[in-house]
């Protein structure tokens, strides 16, 4: 789990709820309109909080942006542990994760990209702390998938020569590239193709029948 460097958790439940409402509103506005287009006032109005509440929880814009990065990082991890995929310990569950991920994007009409990935273009070249936190978010996400692949490996569905960390990285990259191509073409097909072609590749390690590719230098 990625912890943000924003102020500590509010002590009361009500405080946490207010804080979470602000972060969720900011995340949504940034996703829909872009970070550059959003003022603190927009967030305040969307979250229905007062100016003093805003400054109490987020003394400056940076602390809010960092909380949004942490929120999106948690969101992609939570998607990975939803009931239908929980435990991610079989190739069938991995396919189900791919299907649900693609399905959600189809429902959005391929508008907007990945909730975490879309922050990269907006923040990575001008907010070094945010960039590093997005990178941590991706690490946790890839790590979560890699843990799943290790369980799939332990269950014997894929062979010991498969490298879970590399395959998980490849899968998240395929997904990110898929989002980009689906957004540009307004067609879900490239995302579906990219994700499932990588899952097919993972399946090619089925019970130790590893790819020949691994043997070449």
């Amino acid at each position: 789990m990625v912890e943000s460097s924003s102020p500590p958790e509010p002590p009361t439940r009500r405080g946490r709820e207010t804080r979470d409402r602000i972060v969720a509103a900011a995340a949504e506005l940034i996703y829909r309109r872009g970070e550059g287009e959003i003022g603190i006032r927009d967030v305040k109005e969307a979250a229905g909080v007062s100016g003093s509440q805003m400054t109490h929880y987020f003394p400056d814009r940076d602390s809010l942006i960092r909380a949004v990065v942490a929120y999106r990082s948690r969101e992609v991890l939570e998607f990975l542990s939803q009931p239908d995929i929980d435990g991610l310990d079989s190739l069938a569950k991995l396919r189900e994760w791919g299907r649900l991920t693609v399905e959600r994007q189809r429902e959005r009409g391929t508008e907007g990209g990945c909730v975490l990935g879309s922050l990269v273009a907006q923040l990575s070249e001008r907010d070094e702390v945010a960039r590093a936190e997005i990178a941590e978010g991706f690490d946790a996400w890839i790590g979560g998938l890699a843990d799943g692949l290790r369980r799939i490996q332990a269950a014997g569905e894929i062979g010991p020569e498969a490298d879970p960390d590399e395959l998980a990285t490849g899968l998240i990259a395929a997904l990110q590239g898929g989002y980009t191509l689906a957004q540009a073409s307004r067609d879900i097909a490239p995302m579906e193709t990219a994700v499932f072609s990588m899952i097919d590749h993972i399946e090619s390690f089925w019970r130790g029948r590893g790819p020949r590719a691994k043997k070449t230098p």
């Binding site: 990269v120 273009a121 990575s124 990178a135 990259a173 395929a174 980009t180 490239p190 193709t193 072609s197």
Partner: protein, 229 residues
Amino acid sequence: VTASADTLRHMPQAASSNSRLTAKGRATRARIIDAAARLMYENGAANTSFEDVRKAAKASGSQMSHYFADKRSLIRAVIAHQADAVMADHHDPAIGNLDSIAALRTWAQRIVEQQRAQNFEGGCRLGSLAAELVESDAELRADFAAGFERWEALLRRGLLAMQQRGDLGPDADPDALACSLLAAAQGGYLLTRTHRDAHALKVALGAAIDHIELLTIEAGERSIGLPEP
């Protein structure tokens, strides 16, 4: 400083709008686009003003408005220009027609080296601009889609050649594989830009090419069919 700046100069122009210009006019227009492409790549389109571009291109206000009605028309020219630049990057004897596993591996290596040369900042010059602007309007979105499609077509051509030659099995789907390769590159660029290191880009492209390699048929297997795995 980015790697794009000097390769950009040699790019073929998007053919349409400047065919009626004089040589000098074309040069001025190209200089403006070149400056705009560089600034937008380094700072983002949102942080690049018409005036920034004018200064960087050492153009006059009337030259700017003569060639580009507004920032948006300049952005469209930059998208076409970056797509041309991506295509030109593939005119490299070392990667030939991208029609072998070895050529694909070299292609991947070139992409990683290019990112390393710019300290893993900025990402793909077409993809990063797309990430920023693809949702702004339908026309720009279509410009990006056309750019990606040219890139994918180039990858597809190499894979089709491999299949026609019998290197790739008849079950392989060059359309899907080309799409997956391009997605791996785009996702790899994004992760590498985020992490500021080569790892994800290398691994993503490697896995996509491994997958294609699995579908290849070695010379010895061709006459006798695929052996049992």
